[in-house]
């Protein structure tokens, strides 16, 4: 059970407080309700570039990092297709410094041309380091537009191409800030050994006078149901053939969301999973294989990916792959298999919620989805999943017409 209190400031900022008496550290986590899905198609990569600019100084404070380090703290941030999340971890006695810093950059940024110029270069190097100069690094850049034809999930958070980042202007940056960075578009969670009254006093002191902004009504195109098998093969200078089967699934709030997650565990979470045992251990077709869900807020993907053994063809794999999936459609998962998966899920959740930072992030994310308290009901929802649920969802999901396949062919195989 993750206890929390919740209150809202007059300007619309939602504040969550998670008391943890066991740690000398405090966490300040702020989720902004903006991600790559909110970008326009000719200016992609912007939410992420903007995340970098948030460290380039705010209206009253020339530098973000220095005062936080002076307080013994550190921070980081990440951008996804759905959200942008910032966090600070510091000794609880110095928590006010984090609130001072975070509130000032919510109020306004410094918008210096130097910061924009440097962070453009940094992000371009990040683009190269993580996506272009890595074997298989561009897979998501290739796969997304095959799966998503109209929804903005068709581009990756880093952006469609380097050019979009090179062309970002100061005007773009300011427009983006005004639209998305204001109290009502954010959720703040404070974790640590504090009292609720103190948290109320401090958050009101630092965030209370930030002007309310206009709530941005999101109206994204809904990706239509996929009705045909899609397949693409790209050649790359990699040593080994790799495959990515992507199945469309429902959105994060759909009652079956956790059923998809469980299905992916059955197929490819660990060395007892079905695909590992059959395609690797019995048939020797692959060197590795795994399955997972993307976890996005709008209609996401169940991905099954891996690498072929030398001498095995994509066709050989494909035949065995669909045979194995069909077993999930044609017969029920045994109680034993289901209970094994559930122990694994319970264990990983227990470890995940171990750190106060993870708890704070999870509370913010669940609050964005509708109610932070959903985090406390996840276990019972997993426990309620039946073999019938799994078969029903497998039957509508793990079928060819709902699948996009990307194969990466090694162009200089020996």
């Amino acid at each position: 059970m993750i206890q929390f209190d919740r209150f809202k400031l007059d300007n619309g900022l939602t504040v969550l407080f998670h008391k943890d008496t066991t740690t000398p550290m405090a966490v300040v986590n702020i989720l902004y309700n903006v991600g790559a899905r909110d970008e326009s198609e000719d200016k992609t990569g912007f939410a992420h570039l903007f995340e970098h600019l948030m460290f380039g100084g705010s209206v009253n404070i020339p530098e973000f990092d220095t005062p936080l380090q002076l307080a013994g703290g550190e921070n980081n941030a990440f951008t996804s297709n759905d959200i942008t999340n910032y966090y600070d971890v510091l000794p609880v006695n110095n928590i006010e410094t984090a609130l001072w810093l975070e509130s000032d950059r919510m109020l306004s940024l410094a918008f210096t041309p130097k910061s924009l110029e440097v962070q453009r270069s940094v992000v371009i190097e990040e683009f190269k380091q993580r996506y272009l100069n890595q074997p298989y690094g561009d897979v998501w850049l290739e796969l997304r537009p095959e799966v998503y034809k109209i929804h903005p999930y068709k581009w990756a958070t880093i952006g469609k191409e380097i050019k979009h980042i090179e062309e970002a202007t100061m005007e773009d940056v300011k427009g983006f800030f005004n639209k998305f960075y204001h109290p009502a578009n954010a959720i703040l969670c404070i974790g640590g050994n504090l009292e609720l009254d103190e948290v109320k006093r401090l958050t009101t002191k630092w965030f209370g006078d930030i002007p309310a902004g206009e709530i941005n009504k999101r109206d994204l195109p809904k990706e239509p149901k996929q009705t045909e098998f899609r397949e693409k093969t790209i050649e790359r200078a990699v040593p080994t053939d790799a495959f990515y089967y992507a199945f469309r699934m429902e959105d994060r709030l759909h009652p079956d969301y956790l059923v998809y997650d469980t299905l992916s565990d059955i197929l490819g979470r660990d060395k007892s999973s079905r695909l590992y045992k059959s395609l690797k251990k019995e048939l020797g077709l692959v060197s590795n294989i795994s399955a997972y869900v993307t976890g996005s807020i709008d209609s996401g993907l169940l991905i099954i990916s891996g690498k072929l053994n030398d001498g095995v063809t994509f066709d050989q794999l494909d035949e065995a792959f669909w045979k194995e999936l069909d077993k999930l459609l044609n017969s029920k998962v045994s109680d034993e298999e289901l209970s094994r998966i559930m122990v694994k899920i319970r264990t990983s959740n227990e470890f995940q919620h171990q750190a106060v930072l993870n708890r704070a992030m999870a509370l913010c994310m669940n609050e964005l989805l509708g109610d932070a308290d959903m985090i406390n009901h996840e276990s019972e929802k997993y426990a309620a999943i039946t073999a019938d649920d799994l078969q029903r969802v497998a039957a509508s999901t793990l079928i060819k017409t709902n699948c996009t396949l990307l194969n990466v062919k090694a162009s200089h195989a020996e």
């Binding site: 740690t23 550290m25 110029e117 190097e125 251990k281 470890f351 171990q354």
Partner: protein, 419 residues
């Protein structure tokens, strides 16, 4: 209206509660450490074996470790995995230069059962030929993929220059090393360094003493009676090596030198110098090469320790076109530390930062255990960290300069750039 131009008042850290795990002697040489103070149902065990890369020929230590759960005369690898997974265990195992570990994360109600499964699998592993073949093929494929990464290539080249005086420390595998791996070599290595090679056991989790005493019995048959020697005096080979990689968009740079570990009187103060230079977001390398020039997504430095020695390392990936400019800027920052005194405000910033991070490293049973182990490895107690707090409060700009002059001469570094 709050005053937004003024940083809220700070509270200094001058003492941290360090908590040691309880020690049990499995034998005169092999300890078991138990950290009980876990607030939830999670638990972990780590088994340390004297089975590091320096103990065997080429790939033997790595392959042996990778095959520990590959099956026994009565169980297949799949059956072993199913036993572990049905108890919700998450396995991590690995080999470093000087030791090998097998770690398991699980709920505490399952720890004893999983431990039994793991020890039975390790004791009776029979190294079946098809499992050896499969592992070697998988590792060979991974090796080939990694060879495409400039970071991996630079790391390999750097290691061979860093550990150049000792072949056993400098080992890097070549493609042919994955072929013709002999079952008899693996069996021999296993017998010597696993079956009689257990050097340390760590258990984290809310267990009663009687459970720990019961668990302690499991290890009797594995205990190492003596631990072999480690090289206390590995020497690096200074000099710059630049390697082109066709088609690369970035160049990976690794630069550093052999140094020392916690047992050297300069260790604690040098850690402070290292932080100023490259071990936090506001460090000089980051401020110059990322935040001012935009050459890289990240650059950093670190001090790593071995049993009898240690080393200093700087690492980054930069745009290929700015490789030489980056090397010049790194050299500039090293020289600046030797020629200019660090300003007092920067000293204070790093003092506060390092103390905050030390507090964080002592936060929670798992972090505290790792902090303890890092001292224990060098024969130190947790007093070492109380000394560290004193050293952080007491260090002066003159001392920083002295250490920079002593240890950070560019001409004395081994430098590799690949890409």
């Amino acid at each position: 209206m709050p005053n937004r131009n003024l940083q809220p008042e700070l509270v200094a850290i001058d003492a941290i509660d360090f908590v040691a795990p309880k020690k049990y002697d499995l034998s005169p040489t092999v300890p078991l450490y138990h950290m009980k103070e876990v607030q939830n149902e999670t638990s972990r065990f780590d088994l340390y074996f004297d089975a590091g890369n320096c103990r065997g020929e080429k790939g033997t230590p790595g392959f042996t470790n990778g095959l520990l759960l590959s099956g026994t005369p009565t169980k297949t690898s799949v059956q072993i995995q199913e036993e572990i997974n049905s108890l919700g265990g998450f396995l991590e195992s690995g080999v470093s230069v000087e030791n090998a570990t097998v770690s398991m994360y699980c709920l505490r109600e399952n720890l004893k059962s999983i431990l039994n499964t793991i020890l039975d699998a390790i004791k009776h592993v029979d190294f079946k030929e098809d499992e050896i073949k499969e592992l070697c093929a998988d590792r060979k494929q991974k090796w080939r993929i990694n060879q495409e990464k400039v970071a991996t290539r630079a790391q390999q080249e750097f290691r061979s220059k860093l550990f150049s005086s000792n072949d056993r420390y400098a080992i890097t595998l070549e493609e042919k090393d994955f072929d013709n791996v002999q079952q008899s070599d693996l069996k021999e290595f296993h017998e010597k360094f696993y079956l009689q090679g257990l050097t340390k056991v760590v258990i984290v989790g809310n267990f009663e003493e009687e459970t720990i005493l019961e668990i302690a019995e499991y290890f009797n048959q594995f205990l190492a009676s003596e631990i072999g020697d480690f090289d206390p005096n590995v020497l690096h080979e200074p000099g710059i090596q630049k390697i082109d990689k066709e088609g690369a968009l970035q160049t990976a740079i690794r630069a550093g030198r052999m140094l020392f570990n916690k047992n050297h009187p300069d260790y604690l103060d040098f850690l402070f110098v290292n932080t100023i230079l490259g071990d936090y977001f506001g460090s000089r390398l980051m401020a110059n090469i990322r935040e001012d020039k935009g050459y890289t997504y990240g650059i950093g430095s670190m001090v790593a320790e071995l049993d009898g020695t240690g080393y200093f390392l700087m690492a980054t990936e930069v745009g290929k076109e700015v490789r030489d400019e980056t090397l010049k800027e790194i050299q500039f920052e090293l020289t600046r530390l030797q020629t200019e005194l660090v300003p007092e405000d920067e000293m204070q910033l790093v003092r506060n930062y390092v103390l905050g991070q030390l507090l964080k490293s002592a936060d929670g049973a798992y972090a505290m255990t790792d902090l303890f182990l890092s001292a224990e490895l060098h024969g130190k107690t947790l007093d070492f960290y109380n000394d560290a707090i004193k050293s952080i409060h007491g260090i002066t700009p003159e001392r920083v300069q002295e250490l920079a002059k002593k240890y950070l001469k560019w001409e004395y570094m081994a430098v590799v750039a690949v890409g």
